[in-house]
Symmetry: C2
Subunit: 746 residues, 2 copies
């Protein structure tokens, strides 16, 4: 159908059968749909798509007509059979005989256009248009002093941003029709405990699953009617449209010939209880909304603003300089990031959590370090909140193992991999992930997490100028420098293993299921540049208040730089692991340059022009121009390590951004073209390799095998120059920060 409103977003050019994780801010809730033939809908605190069949469609005639209901293919079985499967409900069957197949027909793929914008997801057929809106934006700090200081406007804005709901519209255009059409939105639940929301929604219809999730619906300028049977078509035509034992609630509406109607939908959730253990927290939104029906009513009330905000975001992305492939990846990642977010109220204080996609580990620090660029742009207070959580509850002090002498030496402060999993905060000082006695997956990430905390802190400080926070945490920052130095030995970086690894274990990196080239921490070039950047960050953090320590930090950075430079081969390639007898020595890894992202976002021109940066540029160009194409998959996608088929999309995005902006690698037309081909391949990884799992991070030869439904791909938003100040402006901010006093900074 032709759209009633101007379409900012052109039709998606790829495979349109993929799930998107439509989510509000901080509710750990997604309304997922888009993948053909599988279930989705409401998913609350689960790290995967919901479990409802979605019936979104239209039929010719009034609600009682015999015409088949033609629906979008967002239900189990839709992909297999494009025809209506018709079953009679067995006569004289008891309530157990509830699983009847509905009399519905799914639209074929070529009958649907999908407009996948940054904040709208619109499926269009000849007769209907279904759109989900997920506006996002700056969220004011909920810290009491800050919100109060910003007054009632900030309070109202925070309330708006915390609404735990997603809105949608179903438009049926019958302006050219000669007979009535009937539109329908219905959800086939598998869970039990459905109810009709009677008399609690002003002017709208609605259903809920217990008191936890539900939807409200209304037709502006028209009528709607409720249904709830065991199949959507039964609810339309049966004399009893609603049975309280039904599992398929929905709302229908008739559209007279010559007219059009739009059904407005609000999908809301509400958990009115402690949802986490140990650090016992409830959702922060419970401060602003009384219950589920309040959420639904406020969603209806804010409907127009939500739609407008989403449309503006769409426009911003379409008008940006990035390609359609890149736009898709950014839009896809944005949704999955928000679907993993969770803002808690713990003992009256906000506590920020990003859940680790399908694994639901909480605040995984090696994800946080990558998400920090987006967060500092939109809600920088969550970064400070996370830094504090780790200092207060999830830091520890270890020793380090000297492999040569077998002796334990001084280690220092370090940070846990995560703060728990599936809403269960782990024992303080311990992650849910890490175990001793291991060489691979589930070992400790001590050195990398120490770097991560420092890098987040430095980036937070540069972006916000929050000198007071630095001052309050100076002793911790100083301890980090000691700890990092103690772990580095002569090389300055990662020569020892944490005593937490036990006698036999060795530290790993965030690339935990890759081979030694990236999974081994010790003597790894990826860790080397990351440690170098960490020392530069510590230099910034310490320069004003502890200048002698800052000098040490800078000297350590130089020591690491020298060590890396000494490793470059005659072809300019750096080995992945500096140990000659290590299986990773011959690997060629692109994330060697990852540490450059920090000087880039800090505006540290001298670091970007350093000898190390230059060596990394040579290394990268050698790998990208490799005639054997050892760092490219057959489909053109980027292969982070030449010796593994495991690749991480979030890290590829970082790599590409550094190449383009810090190394100017795409001055080279071949590389520019290589990246364009790669972008197209990465789109296919998501749509074809991760169609059910929405946005995923870890791909094995283009198929999502792990880290699915994942927040971290939000690094792709760096392509928009997410830190929207110029490099020179950033240099100015950095200088100001380092010379200023507290009053000026905050």
């Amino acid at each position: 159908m032709s759209s009633g409103v101007a379409q900012a977003v052109p039709p998606f050019h790829g495979n349109i059968s993929f799930n998107a994780q439509h989510a509000p801010f901080g509710a750990f809730f997604s309304f997922t749909c888009g993948h053909f033939g599988t279930r989705g809908g409401f998913g609350l605190q689960i790290g995967k798509p919901g479990n409802q069949d979605l019936y979104i469609g239209v039929k010719d005639g009034d609600r009682y007509s015999d015409a088949p209901l033609k629906v979008l293919p967002f239900y189990e079985g839709a992909a297999a059979a494009n025809e209506a499967a018709r079953y009679d409900v067995e006569r004289e069957a008891g309530p157990a005989e509830q699983n009847v197949k509905p009399k519905v027909v799914a639209y074929a793929k070529d009958q649907i256009r999908r407009h996948y914008g940054w904040a709208t997801d619109r499926s269009v057929t000849d007769n209907l248009e279904f759109t989900i809106y997920t506006p996002f934006g700056n969220v004011p700090s909920p810290e009491p002093n800050e919100t109060d200081a910003n007054g009632p406007a900030a309070e109202a804005e925070l309330r708006y941003r915390l609404l735990p709901a997603v809105v949608a519209t179903l438009r049926v255009d019958n302006t050219a029709g000669r007979t009535t059409k009937t539109g329908l939105f219905a959800l086939g639940f598998r869970d039990k405990g459905l109810r009709l929301l009677d008399g609690v929604l002003g002017g709208a219809l609605g259903f809920a699953l217990r008191d936890e999730m539900g939807f409200a619906a209304r037709v502006v300028g028209g009528d709607a009617f409720p249904i709830m049977r065991w199949a959507p078509d039964v609810g339309l035509s049966d004399p009893n449209p609603v049975h309280l034992l039904g599992n398929c609630p929905g709302v229908g509406f008739e559209v007279p010939p010559g007219e059009e109607r739009t059904l407005q939908l609000v999908f809301g959730v509400y958990l009115d209880r402690l949802v986490t253990t140990r650090l016992e927290g409830r959702y922060f939104y419970t401060r602003y909304y009384a219950n589920l029906t309040d959420v639904l009513n406020r969603g209806l009330e804010s409907f127009d603003r939500l739609v407008d905000d989403a449309t503006q975001k769409d426009r911003a992305l379409v008008d940006s300089s990035v390609s359609p492939d890149q736009q898709f990846l950014i839009a896809h990642a944005t949704r999955s990031y928000y679907g993993s977010t969770q803002l808690l109220d713990v003992a009256g204080q906000p506590l920020w959590v990003v859940n680790e996609g399908e694994y639901c580990m909480m605040n995984t620090l090696d994800l946080a370090v990558d998400q920090v660029f987006w967060e500092l742009e939109h809600h920088p207070w969550v970064v400070r909140n996370l830094l504090d959580t780790f200092v207060h509850h999830y830091s520890y002090v270890d020793e380090v193992k000297d492999a040569k002498t077998g002796k334990l030496k001084l280690g220092g402060i370090a940070f846990c991999h995560d703060t728990g999993a599936h809403n269960q905060f782990s024992p303080f000082g311990h992650s849910s992930y890490e175990l001793p006695h291991l060489m691979g997956c589930f070992s400790y990430m001590t050195a990398e997490q120490l770097c991560n905390w420092c890098l987040i802190a430095a980036t937070y400080a540069v972006k916000t100028g929050d000198a007071e926070w630095i001052c309050q945490n100076l002793h911790t920052i100083d301890a980090c420098l000691t700890s990092l130095t103690n772990r580095g030995g002569d090389a300055g970086f990662c020569q020892y293993e944490s005593s937490r690894c036990g006698e036999r274990g060795a530290e790993i990196t965030t690339y935990d299921s890759l081979d030694r080239s990236l999974a081994q921490t010790r003597a790894n070039v990826y860790m080397a540049t990351k440690t170098w950047a960490t020392y530069l960050g510590l230099t910034r953090l310490l320069e004003r208040d502890l200048p002698d320590r800052a000098v040490l930090a800078r000297r350590q950075a130089e020591r690491v730089e020298e060590r890396v430079l000494a490793q470059a081969g005659p072809d300019g390639v750096l080995p992945a692991v500096f140990e000659r007898d290590n299986p990773g020595h011959g690997s060629r890894i692109l994330p060697a340059i990852e540490g450059l992202i920090y000087p880039l976002v800090w505006g540290d021109e001298s670091a970007l022009q350093s000898r190390l940066a230059n060596a990394l540029r040579c290394h990268t160009l050698a790998l990208l121009r490799d005639p054997q194409r050892r760092n490219v998959f057959a489909d053109g996608g980027i292969k982070l390590s030449s010796t593994s088929n495991n690749s991480w999309m979030s890290k590829i995005a970082l790599f590409q951004h550094i190449c383009r902006v810090a190394l100017n690698a795409d001055d080279d037309a071949d590389i520019r073209n290589l990246f364009a081909v790669a972008d197209a391949a990465h789109v296919c990884w998501q749509t074809d390799g991760s169609g059910y799992w929405a946005c995923s991070d870890q791909f094995v030869s283009g198929v999502a095998k792990g880290s699915r439904y994942y927040p971290r791909v939000i690094t792709a938003a760096l392509w928009l120059q997410a830190i929207n100040t110029s490099a020179s402006e950033r240099v100015q901010i950095g200088k100001r920060l380092l010379s200023s006093g507290k009053a000026e900074a905050r």
Copy 2:
């Protein structure tokens, strides 16, 4: 192994592979296990078995030994392969690769003895003995005035009875062994959110799923250790026995040679929130227990008493006069009844709910009428509570349809089929089940539910002598007589349909998925005798305060009696439906006599010696002696209607009880034998036809097809003469009630 304690309960003589629904009082929670090769464990508010693999076993050697772990076959896959399936955890696999098969071996069926008592369920092998204890008994009223009046002792007793936990023991006997053995109890969860309960259980180990369910374990006089990996054997032997990302928590213990050890286990639940909507309620146990760990600690504290109470119940059943088959059915039914019970606190007042098995409809009135005999024996206040709930919120007033004239006439008060489903109270005055415009399943049960409420009220009054309750509800009781009379026309019973059925619909009975012989209300002999009994009950309720109305009630009973007597054929058989052109006219139904249960429990000798009773005796004997065996299945099980393969165990139990006690039908050796064969068949229905679903009610040719996991089979406990006063004593109570004043009665 030889038991350390005297075994009151002999080994079960049938198929031991069946689930049992181990449950405390009023928590809507069961710990289900016993069926081979399927999952069970914790099931909370779900109306079906839980979803955990149970690993309960022992191995030779210490915890690290290579010997296979030999376990009871209570996990998925156990039935298929009796050998250990061995898989290595894939190296370098991410957290998604969690589904590894454990290295365990299941005991074969012939290696296990099962002692299935009234309140203990003990599985015994050569090396271990696993026992679950579910004591039950009298529960004091939680009504504030009554509990206060009965003082602190009643308060303490109520607290004990409301403990939302089930306890168990795992005993490993190594007294004859020469090497250490290691015992283990572990649960393989599919749900996410597991945690170790560290530092909150005094002297015990424990795990929980979120803050909702968990278990505590300790070895008296010995040590135990925790495990939590993705398979039980990994937790025993791996250097890291506990990983917070594991899904298989458990507790192990080593048993030195020459010794024995017993692991004590408490399975507890706690929901600390509103769990129902509309009538918003929380669990009543939240008044007595602070949280999950409090429940677990109190379970440990009360362990010995719980075990003793269970053992006493075992002894009572073993010492009773009923056969081993009957003992099994009673024990099986008792567990399923309690697993469906739910005591809520709604606005400070107790509210009683029995959920309808797999359907989870709340307080289905046609179940309540059958459960009343058990409830009045053990906790009569729940009956009054239910009567009041229906009066206050789930009664309605209708008209009735005269099929001949097509006109509506005065109807009267009636009661809903249920009060909601799956914790969602339905709109007041409406059930979740009933719909208009239907002739079969899901139609209204208006007349039957009116009878049911009256019969429950009369039985409550006779049993408790609560004249005050009668007085307070006299207007309702009187209205019931008017309503019942209005529905009866000339015949005195069920000649009209409720206006709620709409123009086309017709009322049905509790036998909703049977054919017309039992599902049609109008002119049905089952409804006739039930209505007759209802008039007799109303006579009792009205006799003291409204004697004129009591006379009317008695006259109506006589009118029904005459109508039924006139239908008897020359062979003494009563047609199921009195309408000659009705398909049910030729059916021969055993529940024709169901109405006799009420005079029987009321001790109404004159009704039991009435002409109607005599006619029903002739009818029943004719059906039971039928040479064509039309009311017996091929396996010897009882077939309630000659024209349907649908049969309900709860109703069969009622039928048998009436036959034996009221009609003395088993004076006849053939019938006695027929019943014994039937009892054996009914045991097989449960163990073989409902092995997964624990105790079920509705069987189609011996297979549970509906009404599974069901509370109503508790009618079998009538076989123990559940109303444990003699018939003559009951007559005395009845007389006293009818002549006494308020003060005396309550």
